[in-house]
Amino acid sequence: MKKLNNWLENNTFQHSQFWDLKKLVEKKEERNLKISLCFPTLNEEETIGKEIILISSELKERYPLIDEIAVIDSGSTDNTQAIAEEYGAKFFLASDYLQEEGKMKGKGENLWKAIYLLKGDIIVFIDSDILNIHPKFVYGLLGPILYNDPIKYVKAFYERPINLGGGLLGSGGGRVTEILIRPLFAQFFPELAAVIQPLSGEFAGYREIFEQLPFPVGYGVETSQLIDIYQKWGLDAIAQTNLDERIHRNQSTKALGKMSFGILQTFWNRLSKYKGIDNISLENFSMINVETDENKTSKIITRKIVEQERPPMIEVEAYKNRK
């Protein structure tokens, strides 16, 4: 517990510690690093424009902290591509690249392909549904890495009021974290219980870390990353930054249920890999719900949840050739 408290004290940061962007840019240049920013998207026309504008104006034009901004998309049918391109981001349709690796679709797939498509030594990933986007979301994640050699990967945490359309509701975010992830971490990976928002979609890390990680293509990507990095590089390689508040659209309980099944499957995988708990079969991992139709008849509905994983990018032939 002492180790955990030490980690919490030494590896937890506040975005405001890194407000001096001139110094941060100097640090980046001193270390001769290139930094890429990736927004994974699927139908995010409402928010992607302002995310690109705010980050690019402050952290690319005014203070050249970011060298490359890219949107990696899962096949949006709205105006995400047009808006992203209008405001100067590179746009990649994930399915157009590494086709020889087979078809998969999901947020994790976009993150995995970002490692192949982007050029930075450090890659920052920011979810594209943030209503209160601010440059601190990026520099708050980069600060701990640029100023501290041992830190290889930084994750965001924040308050999560949710937006129900007309106004903000003070609580309600992070339900899957509190109900599913925290109990599982506490039981099986207690060292990771000090990570305040293990599922946050905002994180940054060195390419050399990301390229060695397998990537679940769906909901389990954030969970697997934390566990894999912890197992391979130890807790001191991980840090977290307080970004104050992240406002996003609310997700239905049903959607969170589906997400939980995906995460649970990834978690089971890691238990088997690292803890030798392999007496649970993932063969028939299914989501079982009771659903009521319009005639008020209840039925058991079973949906098979397949959380596929991509291998570490460093093992992919096209990536090796690219390097």
Binding site: G49, I53, L54, S56, Y87, N163, G167
Partner: protein, 395 residues
């Protein structure tokens, strides 16, 4: 200067500024987003003012400050300080802070609460110093950038009034920015007064009710409105009396004990507004006497008529710039905070920054591409003021 030379100068400046502004589009849009997303209801503008001050600091102004009235101010010291040019925009909004202020950016449109009233103009004020620097412009005149508070309703343009009252010397020229509509050139402010009239029967003695069984406040206010509508108003000079808000009562069955009417009076002539003020007082005394009550009157928001003639070189130059930018100049009268300086005889104009729709609604939007032209017109007008083309003596 010949007309053609004049037009050529505007054209030349326009081409130069348009390119630099286009190169900095993201910076301008980022300021627009960040300014708009900070709620700034009248009397509660501190957060937006602080953001603007921080941005002015970022532009390496030596001494941006927030004054005692909440106004945010920054200066560019001119090489000669021959003239003092005030560029201002109100930074308060008529929308409550608890309304969702997040802005959505589409391909050429930004929508959100208050974006057209007056966040786009406030954001332009924030971006201007950086754009001026990027354009490599050095002014001989002192340029003052002012974000004013308390411009709406009961705020009564207090921020602007107090700032101007406390200036060491008045500005030589004033350019007041409004978010919409690009092309507007407001050169004259009408004489204005606002008045709230309240009928309150809540504290009447028992005796009153014995003699006035069927009286209720709504009936009294309705009768008063009837009288007010009978006040003679000349059509030349144009004078109007607007019954803006009538409110009162609580339920279908109870007599109303309290009712109010809010009135706005406008005229091109100060003396006519003064006359209407006296007429309103007379109506209230008359109706009050009939019911044995005293109606409470509160006059506020008095602005005096003043401004530039259409033939003033500042107006003509502004119109010429708008035309060259391919917009239709709309030279009109208005009641913006420019009245504070125009009523003192200081050459003042109100200009629009972009086009937009539903400007005072929650789902307002502004168009993004015209913003570059909106900023270009300000820079050209500043150049022309600097070079003396807007001085009356050069006519």
């Amino acid at each position: 200067m010949k007309k053609n030379d004049h037009e050529n100068l505007i054209k030349e400046l326009m081409e130069k500024y348009r390119v630099i502004i286009a190169e900095n589009r993201e910076l301008i849009l980022a300021d627009l987003l960040r300014t708009s997303q900070i709620p700034s209801p009248t009397f509660h503008e501190q957060k937006r003012a602080q953001f603007m001050k921080d941005r002015f600091i970022q532009n390496e102004f030596t001494s941006p400050y927030i004054d005692d009235y909440g106004n945010v101010c920054a200066h560019i010291k001119g090489r000669l300080s021959e003239k003092k040019i005030l560029i201002c925009a109100s930074i308060d909004s008529p929308f409550r802070a608890d309304i969702d202020h997040y802005v959505q950016i589409e391909k050429d449109k930004a929508s959100g609460v208050g974006i057209a009233d007056n966040a786009t103009a406030a954001a332009t004020l924030v971006s201007l110093p950086e754009i001026i620097e990027k354009c490599g412009i050095r002014y001989d005149s002192d340029i003052i950038f002012l974000g004013t508070t308390e411009s709406h309703g009961r705020g009564d343009m207090n921020g602007m009034r107090e700032f101007v009252r406390h200036m060491d010397s008045p500005p030589d020229y004033v350019i007041n920015l409004m978010s919409t509509q690009l092309g507007r050139i407001d050169h004259f402010c009408r004489s204005v007064v606002r008045c709230d009239i309240e009928c309150n029967l809540e504290d009447m003695e028992e005796d009153f009710w014995k003699h006035a069984l069927h009286t209720n406040a709504n009936n009294i206010i309705t009768e008063l409105v009837d009288h007010l509508l009978g006040i003679p108003l000349p059509s030349k000079p144009s004078t109007t009396l607007n019954i803006g808000i009538i409110s009162g009562g609580k339920s279908y069955t109870e007599p109303s004990l309290k009712a109010e009417v809010h009135i706005g009076v406008k005229s091109e002539k100060n003396s006519l507004v003064n006359q209407v003020i006296e007429d309103i007082k007379d109506c209230c005394a008359d109706v009050g006497a009939r019911y044995g009550i005293k109606l409470k009157l509160n006059f506020f928001g008095r602005q005096h008529a003043g401004g530039l003639h259409f033939s003033h070189p500042m107006v003509k130059n502004a119109a010429c710039i708008v035309k060259q930018l391919d917009y239709e100049p709309s030279v009109a009268t208005s009641n913006t905070q420019m009245s504070v300086t125009s009523s003192k005889g200081i050459p003042s104009l109100t200009l629009g920054i972009t086009t937009g729709k539903r400007i005072r609604h929650k789902n307002a939007h502004v168009n993004l591409s015209p913003i570059a032209d909106g900023i270009t017109q300000i820079l050209i007008l500043l150049d022309l003021i600097e070079k003396g083309y807007c001085d009356e003596k050069t006519k």
